[in-house]
Amino acid sequence: MTTIEAPALGRPADPYKVHRTEMLATGHGDAGPASTRVVVAFGFWIFLLSDIVMFSAFFAAHAVLQNATDGGPAGRDLFDPTRVAIQTGVLLLSSFTCGVSAVATNARSHVWTQAALLATGLLGAVFLLLEAHEFAGMIASGAGPQRSAFLSSFFALVGLHGAHVGVGLLWLGTMMAQLFVKGFTPILYRLICFNLYWHVLDIIWVAIFTVVYLIGEGR
């Protein structure tokens, strides 16, 4: 987890206040409700876990259907290892720049935070372009999602990840604009959440890379 510090709100401590920041209570019942930072990050973790469950359903579907090619092309006929390798590299790098943005935020450096976030966004966009290119090529060659159950599950799983990256980019854009206009304080927690989100997308991609492309390549 990244270690962006919480802003001090400068109000008297009310242990019941929803947005309490002063004490470092864990919420385990000894010292009262946890700080907003903990609550927000924890809630977002739970959301990410549930998102991973949703991905698992699509992974399961892909596992069931990966041989259901209905006489159409299989993975080894379709995948381009070079492009997938570049995609992977780009996405891993974007995770790194995302981490850099957290460091810059801790140092309260506007310029570096914005620069790192911009790099993250650009790398994400490159990833999406490569994926769109792959999808377009497959559809053009008659290997679209309607061709077979295998391709349906492929497009759905990889496309779902792509959609998450796309949503992440929209989110990133709004946050950069806010950072520019209002500064760090109102969006610190969102920056933490975005970091979590982006790293999880990376982890899911590693699973897709392995299960879909590497194993699929061998079929």
């Binding site: 385990h28 469950v53 699509f58 349906s152 759905a156 969102r190």
Partner: protein
């Protein structure tokens, strides 16, 4: 007309009078209510205090209201179905087949997703922060959004009554029947979008409740001091977080099949329809425990309060709850023993299923032993709880019978199965919700419900319950399959007729409930609860006033001591009495994010059903705009001054003191 996608005048069922008339009546009622609200000048109040509210108590009440209205709607379907089957011996009955199919599909969908779910979630929303000594839930605005997304789903299902048709593929749309090839109309699409949208709302609520319970508890409220209801709510919310994404994914796959020609579950293209059955029940079995666990929690609270004793075996109860939470995730395959997975697989899942019954048995014994030696008061909530214990034991035992694969081969998809799950859901969930509503009603509104009508409602419900479902068990044993529109078997006839009489008993019970509400509101002055603690309850929510102020507790409850419930409440009242220093309290400000999101979700869902792409795009863009607007806002809290807190708290204390004085006076004079 391309502009409106597939939507045209033919979508209105001009030539089938029943839905048209029903729809017209419902629309007329809605317009009448809306007109009354506007003309009587209630709209600004509704908007300010309810629609845009982020107060967990208000949202909880709105959830329960939605659930009750939808249950009425689903009950109307039940009456139609039972009457049809009673008439349809060697006769077509009065419902044409395609209409009958829509009715059983909408009945199940509405009852589970828009009746039972909002009711249990509403109770959790209302009670948890009060029981754990909090000011609010972790994410108040998300809470409101979750509610409005659920309402969106309910609205979409009901729109299908008048515009177009509803699904004919059952409450779980099994492919290939639900694929475009076999269900070419918009019925399944209504189902899909209603559930995809409301499912997101449910997930949001689950995340919110898990975070709230795990991270926001009052000082000193350790895990093993949490009231039982909070434990079961925690288990239920964990299951929501773990299971609902599976439902979303599964329905999304079906939507891809229907909209974009994917082949997840089709008969062509290598699709695998058994995968749908696996996925849907990997959600579906946990779902029944999502529903029943909070009800178990209600019974625990009610039984201990009305027996005047702490809950027997609190720790074993916690363990059993968590056990159910985990095991319920591992038994889904018992819903399709007949799939042909083989004897070994079936045996494994049969045994796993029976283990749940063992763990549930622990709970039943604990409830009975809580009552044993207690001073039992037979108030309405307690009646529902005792009725639950009796009926649920039968439902559990028939469940174990179904969990034996050879027996299941005979009884699967028969009315025996239908009787089993209604037995557990009505005897468990619905009784639990009614017990909870009667129990916490005074906390929410400041006055109790009228006892006499409540007792009458209970007995009629119990009678109707037996009269409907004992015949259905019999019919199942006599081999009658579920979902028959008409039949030729002489021996089934008396039982279907008995079941119809039963459903009319249910209707009487329902009338009793409505009368109870009206009578209670009219006599609210004599039913007033000035103490905040009308039942001599044992947990923290009874330490504050009824109804609680927006900030729940004026001063922090002092949660120490050993006994989980009683001691905590006593100390909380004590510390609030000795003139604590009042401090200003910051509470989240009401906002319209949830309502506006729900509005655009409705537009988008409706547009997707009818394939009006530009409107769907517009709805999505607007939803994104709402998101940015919400993220951009600055002030989200408002401060309640220390003087205001003091004023509210003193008023409550004076009322309590007055009440105590009156009490001792009457005791002296008698």
């Amino acid at each position: 007309m391309k502009l409106f996608g597939a939507l045209s005048w033919d979508a209105i069922p001009w030539n089938s009078p029943l839905p048209l008339i029903a729809g017209a009546v419902v629309i007329a009622i809605c317009i009448a209510i809306a007109a009354w609200v506007v003309l009587a000048g209630h709209l600004p109040y509704l908007w300010r205090e309810w629609i845009t509210s982020v107060d967990h108590k208000r949202i909880g009440v709105m959830y329960i209201l939605l659930g009750l209205v939808m249950m009425l709607r689903g009950f109307a379907d039940a009456v139609l179905m039972r009457s049809q089957q009673a008439m349809a011996y060697r006769a077509p009955g009065y419902l044409p087949p395609e209409h009958f199919d829509q009715i059983f599909s909408s009945h199940g969908t509405i009852m589970i997703f828009f009746g039972a779910m909002p009711l249990t979630i509403g109770l959790m929303n209302f009670v948890i922060p009060l029981q754990l000594g909090m000011r609010d839930v972790a994410f108040p605005t998300w809470n409101s959004t979750g509610f409005w997304l659920t309402a969106t789903g309910a609205l979409l299902v009901n729109i299908s009554l008048v515009v177009g048709v509803f699904s004919r593929a059952g409450w779980l749309p099994y492919p290939p029947l639900s694929e475009l090839e076999f269900s070419p109309d918009v019925g399944v699409d209504y189902y899909l979008w209603a559930l995809l949208i409301s499912g997101i709302g449910t997930l949001v609520t689950g995340i919110n409740l898990v975070t709230t319970i795990l991270k926001m508890r009052a000082p000193g409220m350790g895990y093993l001091k949490m009231p039982m209801f909070c434990w079961t709510a925690l288990a239920s919310s964990l299951l929501i977080v773990a299971a609902f994404p599976i439902l979303t994914a599964t329905l999304a796959m079906l939507a891809l099949d229907r909209y974009l020609g994917f082949h997840f579950f089709t008969t062509a293209g290598g699709g695998n329809m058994m995968m749908f059955i696996n996925l849907i029940w990997a959600w579906g079995h946990p779902e029944v425990y999502i529903l029943v666990l909070p009800a178990f929690g209600v019974f625990s609270e009610v039984i201990s309060t009305f027996s005047g004793k702490p809950l027997f075996g609190y720790r074993s109860m916690v363990l059993a709850t968590l056990g159910i939470c985990i095991i319920s995730y591992l038994v889904w395959l018992h819903h399709f023993f007949t799939m042909g997975a083989g004897g070994t697989v079936n045996a494994a899942f049969g045994i796993a299923t029976s283990v749940i019954a063992v763990v549930t048995g622990v709970k039943v014994f604990n409830w009975v032993l809580t009552m044993y030696g207690g001073r039992i008061r037979f108030a309405t909530p307690m009646l529902w709880s005792i009725g639950f214990i009796v009926t649920f034991v039968i439902g559990g035992m028939t469940g174990v019978l179904l969990a034996v694969p050879p027996a299941d081969f005979l009884l699967h998809n028969s009315l025996f199965l239908v009787a089993h799950f209604h037995n557990t859901i009505i005897g468990g969930v619905v009784f639990g919700v009614f017990a909870g509503v009667a129990y916490w009603f005074p906390k929410a509104f400041g006055f109790r419900l009228h006892e006499g009508w409540g007792v009458a409602a209970f007995w009629f419900t119990l009678a109707g319950f037996c009269a409907v479902f004992i015949p259905l068990y019999m019919l199942g044993l006599l081999g009658m399959p579920r979902r028959m529109q008409h039949y030729d078997m002489e021996m089934w006839r008396p039982w279907t007729q008995a079941a119809m009489i039963g459903v009319y008993l249910f209707a009487i019970a329902l009338i009793c409930q409505i009368v109870q509400l009206v009578v209670s509101i009219r006599r609210r002055d004599s039913l007033r609860d000035d103490t905040g603690d009308p039942w001599n309850g044992r947990s923290l929510e009874w330490a504050t006033s009824s109804p609680p102020p927006s900030f729940n507790f004026a001063a922090e409850p002092n949660v120490r001591g050993e006994e989980p419930y009683w001691e905590i409440k006593r100390r909380a009242i004590e510390t609030q009495q000795n003139d604590a220093r009042y401090e200003a309290i910051a509470m989240p400000r009401n906002n319209a994010t949830g309502f506006v999101t729900g509005f655009f979700a409705t537009v988008t869902g409706f547009a997707m059903v009818w394939r009006i792409w530009w409107l769907a795009a517009l709805g999505l863009a607007a939803a994104y705009a709402v998101f940015v607007w919400y993220a951009w806002r600055d002030i989200s809290e408002e401060e309640i001054s220390a003087e205001e807190v003091e004023r509210i708290d003193h008023a409550h204390r004076e009322r309590r003191a007055d009440w105590l004085a009156r009490q001792s006076q009457t005791r002296e004079t008698t």
